[in-house]
Amino acid sequence: MKTIPLSAAFACVASLAAAETPVLDVYTYDSFASEWGPGPAIEKGFEESCACDLRFVTAGDGASLLARLQLEGATSAADVVVGLDTNLNAQAAATGLFAAHGQPAVTGLPTPYADANFLPFDWGWFAFVHNKSLAFPPKSFEDLAASDLKIVIQDPRSSTPGLGLVMWVKAAYGDRAGEIWAGLKDNIVTVTPGWSEAYGLFLEGEADMVLSYTTSPAYHLIAESDDTKTAAAFDEGHYLQIEVAGKLAASDQPVLADAFLAYLTSEAAQSVIPTTNWMYPANPLAAGLPQGFETLIQPAKSLLLSQEEAGAMRDAAVAEWQAALAQ
């Protein structure tokens, strides 16, 4: 019983000490704020100019982040949220917790995107990553379904890339999505709860391909000097994941929050993104992308459902996925 008053006391002391400098609470997903993500560099860079203390509060992934905001509701301490994606935006907008960001539109996306509440800070194409030694990489989902290649994917009910894949098939094939999934069924070795389990299984040699991003091979090339990985280019196009940030309407630091969003899309923060988050920056970099990114595949066509479409068809698309694979 001692712990509660004691920690409350600690919390009081901490907030008294912090009253000197304003605190900006940024909610984000784990890997953004981790030692290897863009978080530490962005925190350092922003604190140099803001005369404030930037604090990251983390939740597992984009979906957990949104769930946490919904749990906290209007009493949330969050000022800014970094790391939702376009498939979650409709649900996020419906909470009514977000305010207009007021920033100029970003210009580095492969497809036009503008939203009053959500500001893109990076993006990537979903893709199946494989070893270059793979003899005949598939050129489409139908190709893949006809092959006997083994793939690992993530569950759309517990993972944002998993949901992205379901949306990809839906955007590319519409009403034929169920049929495509039925064809893919015998290629799917297993479905994992999250991205890291699937990627781990692929690296262990349990599958020929794994659902990830076109930028994943850049990690192996740049961080590990390993050029054996590549991604398969699909003719029907690649679905986009656009990661967005937003400002909370109930923020007690609205001015700092605006300044942070401006910083997040500035050259300083954007140049950190490619080799920490392993995604493309939302604004073009003056010096261009880091060396190694030029080796990545460039999909000719980008697919993206609008957030209204994505929000409206999500449940039905997941049910279709589930029905096709559960037979």
């Binding site: 604090r55 749990l71 299984l201 040699g205 049910a319 589930q322």
Partner: protein, 509 residues
């Protein structure tokens, strides 16, 4: 406070943590309905948990018997090593199993060499294989514990009377098994009931969906608190039903007190010796193979670990020791009370087994927010929840021994007027030291590997080692994660062994 009141207090605290958190979650719900696939998830959950429990316990019998009646060099070490799979964090265990049974593993290499078709580990059989791998050690220890509680004098008497193996089994071993098996099976069943990552990763697709996955989906993706609370209630109802059924099926085996002189069980020779050797050999290969694979993966990566591993390890160890001691205190108190007749506490003590870590986390979150920042409570909350989660194991291990203790020494203690702390120190603790040490070690190791509540509460500077491993894997650093996982496994085992050793040392003969 009297012992009775203390036990009731602990019972209520556990109920508040489990049922209360589900109620709080439900209190914030706006809609009450199950999803379309929840029925199928329930069926799959029951099916895989039932199979896993049955197979784990059946395989545990010959293994426990071999361990109970054979003495060989390295036996004590083997018993300790065999506990390891149960203590592994799930992700690590899955990767270890894959290294052995996966596409590129030695089992499939051997099959290909023999021109046989390769074996896929993915599917219901993969889920059951993983659950047996994780739970066979626990079932074995529970049964072994019971085997050792038959006074060796009884076996010697049976030998002297010329009883054949069949008759010995009927008169001595079968009654003992009837006493321990229902509880062991129920424990494994309930444990597999809340399986999430194993079932999904090895299940091969959405057919292998469990209730816990539905809860995750409801809480994280749909923010449907009503559905999550309904599903959690379903798990609790199953837990209560299974525990009550176990209560009715369990018959206390009464062998009477032995001399407590530590005589050894006779070791029958001939074919029974061969049988024991086969059981031990197969179990070693099955349980130790993946462990060796994990070690082989982790060792070269030890140099690549980030410095953050050490503070994370220190935090994990501190939380583990705290929660283990708390769980031991509560478990001992509840077991003594249940043995004395407060049976409602038995169901309460088993509740955490079927509690969804996610729902507990969500309930606690709602309880403290917005009065206190959840990050400031991350470690105390993890400590308390981990203690509650480990309670059922401790309780299950202690209860049979406590019943025997009361049956054998209760009247003697009463007539000597021994009560309170003196009775605890002089009579109970020496008799219960072995299961208590084992159970406390188990609680510590389980807490080390836990990734439930901390993920919801963690903030800066409260990262535990399992969370760090997850972060490493999320940042493509699979090798560094393998190194950190090896550190985690080594630390878990060391903690477990330390407590287990204490128990063995202080056990009365």
């Amino acid at each position: 406070m009297t012992a009775r009141a203390t036990a009731a207090f602990f019972g209520l605290a556990v109920a508040a943590l489990t049922l209360g958190s589900a109620a709080l979650t439900a209190g914030h719900a706006t809609d009450w309905s199950l999803g379309p696939a929840d029925g199928a998830a329930l069926r799959f959950t029951l099916w895989q948990a039932g199979l896993s429990a049955l197979i784990s316990c059946l395989l545990a019998i010959p293994l426990a018997r071999a361990l109970a009646r054979r003495r060989f060099a390295g036996r004590a070490l083997l018993i300790r090593l065999l506990a390891a799979p149960f203590l592994l964090p799930v992700v690590v265990a899955v990767l270890g199993l894959l290294a052995v049974f996966g596409r590129a593993g030695p089992v499939n290499a051997a099959l290909t060499g023999l021109c046989l078709p390769p074996l896929s580990i993915f599917g219901l059989h993969g889920v059951v294989l993983a659950h047996v791998f994780l739970n066979l050690p626990l079932a074995t220890r529970m049964i072994l514990q019971s085997w050792q509680s038959i006074p060796a004098e009884r076996f010697r008497l049976a030998e002297a009377l010329g009883m054949p193996p069949g008759a010995q089994f009927r008169h001595l071993e079968l009654p003992m098994l009837r006493g321990v098996l229902p509880g062991a099976m129920a424990t494994v069943f309930l444990l597999c009931l809340t399986s999430f990552a194993v079932a999904l990763t090895l299940g091969g697709g959405p057919r292998a969906s469990t209730i816990e996955l539905s809860i995750y989906q409801a809480l994280r993706f749909e923010f449907d608190l009503g559905r999550a609370a309904l599903l959690a209630t379903m798990q609790f109802a199953l837990c209560a039903a299974v525990t009550l059924a176990t209560l009715r099926l369990t018959t206390g085996a009464v062998f009477g007190p032995g001399l407590g002189r530590g005589l050894e069980i006779p070791r029958p020779g001939g074919w029974r010796c061969g049988l024991d050797a086969v059981a031990l050999g197969l179990a070693c290969a099955f349980l130790l193979g993946p462990l060796i694979a994990i070690t082989a993966r982790g060792l070269p990566a030890l140099t690549e670990m980030p410095p953050g591993v050490w503070p994370a390890l220190a935090r994990s160890v501190a939380v583990a020791i705290g929660s283990a001691l708390l769980a031991a205190t509560v478990g001992l108190c509840l077991a003594l009370s249940v043995a004395r007749g407060q049976t409602w506490l038995e169901v309460t003590a088993m509740l955490p087994l079927s509690a969804s870590g996610l729902v507990i986390g969500t309930g606690l979150f709602l309880a403290v927010h917005p009065a206190i920042k959840p990050e400031t409570l991350a470690l105390p909350v993890t400590l308390a929840v981990n203690a509650a989660m480990a309670l059922p194991y401790l309780f299950r291990l202690l209860l049979p021994e406590t019943r025997t203790l009361l049956a054998d020494y209760g009247r003697l203690s009463d007539s000597l007027g021994l009560s309170g702390l003196n009775r605890l120190r002089l009579v109970a603790l020496p008799r219960l030291a072995r299961p208590l040490g084992f159970g406390t070690g188990l609680a510590a190791a389980l807490s080390m590997g836990d990734l439930g509540v901390i993920a919801l509460f963690a903030g800066e500077r409260t990262e535990t080692l399992p969370l760090l491993i997850q972060h490493l894997m999320g940042a493509y650093r699979m090798e560094a994660a393998a190194g950190a996982a090896l550190v985690l496994v080594a630390a878990s085992l060391a903690l477990f062994w330390a407590f287990d050793r204490w128990g063995a040392k202080h056990a009365a003969a």
